[in-house]
């Protein structure tokens, strides 16, 4: 055990309490917020190029939202206790605030998905028999009105919801950053920049995930790839990546320039404890390489195949890089002692309640949920229709 500890640490710090599951929690929440904001690029800001993946992005957000609380509940040990912060919320409890924001956002996303798919649901309900009819009728709430007037009302409400949705998505994830940023005892966390850094990296990871899922769907379903959509997403990815990295670097630079009393331990943390995951994965692999690749994608003409490969590599790197960012915040913050004179080491276990295996299962679960949701509410026709239009217009 001694080799895991350096310098002077307090006795109650010897065990790192927030494990890999707490790394997953902001990561998954971030993917939700990112995917939702990607879909609102079309739903609110009317970017037509995003349309083929807009509804798919909504479903992705919903699928990940379903499991966003799971890491916390598993970490809690007694999952049934989780609801108690909702039953007796305290004004000073950041977590109970999150419970309410999460629930509100969940309602907004479900309503928005319902409105986006209502026409499809009603049509399927009317055209099928047996259990399928029952399922879709229930999803349509036994209202089959898809007249123009009804759809107009849907659209109006959808717009309103999306306008509420963006701030609540931003709030949801900014809040996760606030939960860390508000801990004044920990110099690595305690900065007002934390919510906005979390939010930006959330958008980045969400768009990157959406690109990857889109490419996978295209591969599996053998649809023609819509290059406009892909490049448009890549363009947004690039812009948000720049903002994200600038903020992350600003935080470090201002910490180093201010050189408050905690700077020594933070420099030790960066040099000894999380050097590889911070400089190597988060900054080089997760930011620098994708930045250059996406810049080239924006500049290069033709050579679509190469550009697709470059976008794919960037997205994979960004998804991994943002995970490393969460790791560096959550684990890194606990690896420095509150004494500011020592460090600890987190050793992940594979099995068990806080193990890597459980983390992998929780990370795969939303993909399975997404498969089920897309089976019930297929968003695929957007991808084909739009593409045909694009092909026709280019001819």
């Amino acid at each position: 055990m001694e080799s895991l500890v350096w310098g002077y640490v307090y006795p109650n710090e010897a065990e790192i309490q927030w494990s890999i599951l707490i790394v997953l929690y902001p990561y998954i929440t971030g993917l939700v917020a990112g995917a939702f904001i990607a879909s609102s690029l079309y739903h609110v800001f009317g970017n037509k190029e995003i349309k083929p993946v807009a509804r798919f992005a909504l479903l992705t957000a919903l699928a990940f939202l379903c499991v966003a609380m799971l890491p916390l509940l598993a970490h809690l040990g007694n999952p049934l206790r989780g609801i108690e912060i909702m039953f007796t919320p305290h004004l000073t409890s950041a977590m109970s605030g999150f419970g309410y924001i999460f629930s509100f956002y969940f309602i907004v996303v479900v309503l928005e998905v319902w409105l986006a798919f209502r026409v499809d649901i009603v049509k399927t309900a009317l055209n099928s028999r047996g259990w399928k009819e029952l399922l879709y009728s229930a999803l349509a709430l036994f209202s089959y009105d898809i007249s123009e007037k009804a759809l107009e009302a849907d659209e109006k409400l959808g717009k309103k919801l999306a306008i509420i949705g963006i701030p609540s998505a931003a709030f949801l994830h900014g809040y996760v950053g606030f939960i860390f940023g508000g801990i004044k005892a920990n110099p690595w966390w305690s900065t007002p920049l934390m919510p906005i850094i979390f939010l930006m990296s959330a958008i980045v990871s969400g768009i990157a995930l959406l690109i990857l899922l889109y490419l996978i769907v295209i591969k599996i379903k053998k649809y023609p790839l819509n290059y406009n959509t892909l490049y448009s997403l890549a363009h947004y990815l690039w812009i948000f990546l720049i903002v994200d990295v600038v903020l992350e670097l600003l935080e470090i630079i201002s910490m180093k320039y201010e050189a408050l009393e905690e700077i020594e331990i933070i420099e030790h943390l960066l040099a000894e404890k999380i050097a590889f995951t911070f400089y190597g994965i988060q900054l080089t692999m997760g930011a620098l390489i994708p930045f250059i690749l996406l810049l080239l994608v924006g500049v290069m003409k033709n050579r679509d195949k190469l550009k697709v490969v470059m976008v794919t590599i960037s997205s994979v790197f960004i998804v991994i890089g943002v995970f490393a960012m969460r790791w560096n915040v959550v684990i890194g913050g606990q690896e420095i002692s509150k004494s500011l004179a020592g460090t600890l080491t987190y050793e992940p276990v594979f099995f068990g309640q806080e193990g890597v295996l459980l983390a992998i299962i929780i990370l795969i679960l939303p993909l399975i949920i997404l498969r089920v949701i897309t089976y019930i509410l297929p968003p695929w026709k957007d991808m084909i229709e739009e593409n045909e239009e694009a092909v026709v217009s280019s001819e």
Partner: protein, 149 residues
Amino acid sequence: MQPHLKKAFTLLAIIIIAFIFVRSIAVPDSFGEYGWYRGDSVNELRNQPVEHAGSQACSDVDCHKTLYSIWSESRHKTVNCETCHGPAEKHVSNVRIMPEPANDSRDFCGLCHYKRVARPGEFPQIDPVTHGENLRCAYCHNPHKPWFV
């Protein structure tokens, strides 16, 4: 408002009302009576049987006076009798009821005396692997008067 939207919002209202209903059942009535906890728990805790008597109770002239005076001047004076000997309230009120035998296992002493990096350097600490050949600590050390080997 369109009827399907009305239904959707009714469903939402039902869910919220159901939450409030479940909450009203699940949250104990006395919650918040004194603070952010169940008020009844104060009485429940107060009514729990007393198990510990306190070290002072052992010092009676007719009881363990000698051992008490040795212990109370030793370096272990901050470790209460019942820390090792277990709860003694029953024994104090009726001497025929004997308390559990004292816990003298190596791991128990080790809670304080196994080597830990976070402990002050001058605090007596041992490496359980190399020290004492797996004998019970009390075999060499007198727990009532350390360092009296």
